[in-house]
């Protein structure tokens, strides 16, 4: 959103947005958890996994979700990763049985409910439509944007089971783009945890509270499914590069540069015209929704 602002003001012609990190090989994340923990650390509370797990447990209580819903997200996205040679989990298929046998991290989250820790990076360029049309790849248009940041710390928040910031962010983005959920061909959803995908899609209006399990059943989000989600494998199975993981995948899919995992006839899905992306910050404290489309 910032990039669009500075471009429209004529402050620059191109904005490069990039992310690079090496937490897997450097062990850097561990010290981040300990430094940032504050007074929660005295109670043994560290990191994002536990924060989102507190939210997910509350959702289990409020509308009956749980691992029987989240297994579809973990396993479904893994199938996309198995089509993506640069995904961390490219060569590791996962079944429901594998999911339930995985070890607990912070219950109710098992290992596959958590995003990966990845060495690597990602980047994309934002520019005007005119300049984009002059460049080698087909332009991808920003049709709508929305942001809502409830910002309350997870320890005091009353929105852990929704509606989260996703609801108003989507109303803004979908409204700007003039679309509803029926116009969406695929979703690239910030998936720091499986529950994040569920609550985002629920708040975006794809299903109601507690209806997620039924919506995900029948391979909905997988190759061949009626609503592909996180077609690179996502942060859960491809790589964690913050919001750039979902966003760059949406762009690549709309540019038709995804090879074996390309949305369309190759994967038994709709050729994408409109893809929605989400980004989150902290523990359900900030949310951005972006609607992208073909030129």
């Amino acid at each position: 959103m910032h990039a669009v602002g500075v471009l429209e003001q004529g402050l620059c012609n191109y904005v490069a947005i990039s992310y690079g990190h090496n937490p897997l090989s450097s062990g850097g994340l561990k010290s981040v958890f300990q430094e940032r923990a504050g007074n929660e650390a005295v109670f043994g509370q560290f990191g994002a996994s536990a924060g989102y797990a507190l939210a997910a447990r509350r959702a289990m209580h409020e509308f009956g979700t749980g691992p029987d819903t989240w297994k579809h997200i973990a396993v479904g996205q893994r199938k996309w990763a198995n089509l993506n040679p640069i995904a961390m989990k490219y060569k590791e298929p996962m079944t429901f049985e594998d999911y339930f046998k995985s070890r607990w991290i912070v219950e109710p989250f098992r290992l596959p409910d958590n995003c990966l820790i990845t060495d690597g990076g990602r980047a994309y360029i934002v520019t005007s439509i005119e300049r984009a049309r002059d460049l080698p790849n087909p332009p991808v248009l920003i049709l709508g944007m929305g942001q809502h940041n409830p910002s309350t710390d997870v320890q005091q928040a009353n929105h852990l089971a929704g509606p989260t910031g996703a609801k108003k962010a989507a109303e803004s983005a979908f409204g700007m783009a003039g679309i509803t959920t029926t116009d969406v061909d695929a979703c690239q959803i910030y998936d720091c945890f499986t529950y994040t995908v569920e609550i985002t899609l629920q708040d975006y209006g794809f299903f109601g509270p507690g209806e997620g399990q039924e919506w995900f059943e029948g391979c909905t989000i997988e190759p061949g499914g009626r609503m592909p989600v996180n077609t690179s494998g996502g942060q859960l199975s491809e790589a964690y590069f913050m919001g750039l993981t979902p966003f760059t995948e949406a762009v690549m899919q709309l540019m038709e540069r995804c090879g074996p995992r390309q949305l369309g006839p190759a994967t038994g899905t709709r050729k994408p015209e409109i893809i929605i992306c989400s980004d989150n910050g902290a523990i359900l404290q900030t949310h951005t929704c972006i609607v992208l489309g073909k030129d």
Partner: protein, 136 residues
């Protein structure tokens, strides 16, 4: 060598809270303008923005709002506690605070479960944790 667990790091806002803990008293700030009882500690009331407040003792009772069970030690000091419960506790007087649930198995913890205060000593500091409320 045993790993040390982290100790409280009081700041200007939380110093009276931790001082109360060292005396075995759980205290929260009550706004003297609107009566709202707040946590986390703050120099002003989140409801009415007044600054005048008094630290008042809590009865130390509440209910579990949410909880998680750690099966992995993110800090080596907690390895011996695994599996352990971190919970959000709705204190009866109003505030919600993060703490541990002790005195029962993790699988016995339920959202809505009534709990009561329990003091835990750690290297000279006292931490407010909770256990299932005991019937008289």
């Amino acid at each position: 060598m045993a790993h040390q667990k982290p100790l409280p790091r009081p700041d200007a806002d939380t110093a009276p809270f931790w001082e109360g803990c060292s005396e075995g008293i759980l205290r929260f700030q009550r706004c003297l303008s609107c009566g709202h009882i707040r946590w986390p500690a703050s120099f002003l009331c989140p409801e009415c923005h007044a600054t005048e407040a008094a630290w008042e003792p809590s009865a130390g009772r509440g209910t579990v709002y949410s909880f998680v069970v750690y099966h992995v030690a993110f800090d080596p000091g907690f390895k011996e506690d695994l599996p352990y419960v971190v919970a959000l506790v709705d204190i009866d007087e109003g505030p919600r605070m993060l703490s541990n649930i002790r005195g029962c198995l993790p699988e016995e913890v339920r959202i809505g479960m009534p709990v009561e205060l329990l003091w835990e000593d750690r290297n000279g500091s006292r931490l407010p944790v909770f256990r299932p409320l005991r019937a008289c």
